[in-house]
Amino acid sequence: MAPWQVVGLSRWPARRALRTMKSTENSTSRDSNPPVAHRSFIETNVTRNTAADTSAASAAAGTSAPSAAEILPELYRQMSIARAIDREAVNLQRTGALPAYAPLIGQEAAQVGSGAAIDKRYDFAFPTYRELGVAVAMGVDLTGYMATHLASWHGGLYDPVASRFAPIQAVVAGSVLHAMGWALGQKLDAGLAPVGRAPNEASAHDSSNPDANEPAATEPDTSSAPIGAAIAYFGDGASSQGDVHEAMNFAGVYTLPVVFFCQNNGWAISVPTENQVAGGSVSARAAGYGLPSEKIDGNDVAAVYEATARALNRAHSGGGATVIEAMTYRVGPHSTSDDPGRYRSLDEEQSWRARDPLKLCEKRLRDEGLAGDEFFTEAAAHALEVSEQVRAGILSQVDRPMHELFDFVYAEPPAALLAQRDRALEEIS
């Protein structure tokens, strides 16, 4: 019996079939490349939740995800996959197949742990350019994911709506506000106004000015469905951007279901956290907005999973936003064109390699008797298999047809642009 079967997860197949994610109707065909997605824990989780407990009360309480210990083997498997694909991508960049790549090595726990806590029925993730591990955990089509690094399509070729994983974002901190806005949308969907008021609360207006009276906000929805939550990924460097401040402030004023998930990986390209984050801690900012926060060990996948689940749960049940700062380390270069030797010491890198998230997880699995050699062999083989599929997917991706330059700029393209397209197609192809 495989060790993870010990914790009652035997209905997960030992070997995951690579799953084809169906594109939605309005997404475009992706030519000859079959999508590759690791079958994520979450989807299984969703199924389980639904099967095990469909009572409204349970749903209202938010996530009823399994405990971290229960799913630790699965988290390990996902981290292995993320790492294997990451390694493959670095190799592909060296051989020239990818123009550039931003490695995640060292951050597998922060990404897989948080991604695994996301409930795709309700939640939506807003990634940066380095969230491969989240994509793995959420079951995003990984060839479509890698398309952004392959320079096929800015933002990727997966379906962001169906994947609950926004297009890959190149602007540092650019999507943190989107997460906040999306979260407001969920609150509105629940029938709540941004600034909540009890239905019959007296108006604050001057009673001498009857015109100024404003009706009470829509009565809060009393159904027990959880409010969907947005999870915004950003780095220590991104925390310096004004947009992060504006997003946290809006989220506080409006009590929005957002998880601000900062991966503090020690560096923003060549700038260390101490020269980036005044006061030294991103999570310490939260108190200034009246928000709860957690500073966690970002290399402990169980800790990350649990903290994220707690924060999502708070959001689902109307408790508003949370700031999580996952302390981790970017073991590799910023990107394949970066040389960390120019700005940091090998010692520092080595000391973090000792805290490798996969090794830490493996140790716990072994120490607690949750997994043994057989499991790790299988996990490694599975990771290799997935990464080879992704590699094959990358290598077989076809060029984008020229008309795609024009196809998606507008939902209703102006005639002038269509004319420009037609002229261009004539002239160039």
Partner: protein
Amino acid sequence: MTMTADTRPRTPHTETRHLSMQQALNLALEHSLAADDRTLIFGEDVGRVGGVFRVTDGLQQKFGAARVFDTPLAESGIMGMAVGLAMAGWRPVPELQFDGFSYPAMNQVISQMARMNNRSRGTMPMPITLRLPSFGGIRAPELHGESLESLFAHVPGLKVVSPSTPNEAYHLLRQAIADPDPVVFMEPKSRYWQRGDVLLPAPSDTESDAATAEHETTTPVGTSNVVREGKHATLISWGAMVSTCLQVAEYAAEDGVELEVLDLRWLKPIDAAGIQASVSKTRRAIVVHEAPLTAGLGGEVSAIIMERCFDALRAPVERVTGFDVPYPSGALEDAYLPNADRILNAVQKTLEYRRG
């Protein structure tokens, strides 16, 4: 490609009301909120107080604080929030309080709102209408008189429009809100209090999308409007400058010069065919805008005429514009803004031009 709303009244319309542009805009917002309950209005001071120009007056009272609400004072936040709301399937109509305060939001406008449909390959359309009180002429403080149409028109993914009358304001705003793409809606603030007849759809239709759907064929997005016919030269303009151009046409008519006045309305997409039709006829053109000359939209209009009317043209296209200086304080506002005299000078120069 389907077209959205018409800016001209449909038949039968049952109501004509004499309104200021501010009132017409307010009514358009009210009807849009009623027509689609995913439509949201937000921005600084748009809720309780109804906006500093009162364009959103009474809407929070009518539709509640979940449809019309105040935001914290952060323009990037407002536009980034609009993008997120659109990603969640809402139809946001944010207001930025003044033209000059769109600068802090430029990143969210240009790198996010304008590109999300493209980035997501059409899965995340951005039916956002950014309402932006625009242009000068009201002796306001610094950065309350900017003309940003050229900047926005240059951004792929945006549509840009500016109304010149209360009737245009009503119909163009409804059209912009109904449009599935991000539209920068530039309200000529110096015209907010000018009144005119507004032809409204039948009251029974105002609350349904069907009311706007029927308008689709006559005035699609990107159509300009000949507001006065003429034959000696074409004045091309938009926003607040249209009424200045109409005034100039009156003056010129006294001297027997018949000027055609073309209200461009849509600044992206620009109605190149409409410009061509008019200038092919009049063979002379003067483009008028408040924005500074260099890299202003007048250059684009001039280039379009170059490309489409080269043979017809009898004189170089004149540009009468703001100067290449920051929009000034009230004391120098009249000196800065194109006025009848400067436009008439350009008209005369154009008419008197003889090939050397």
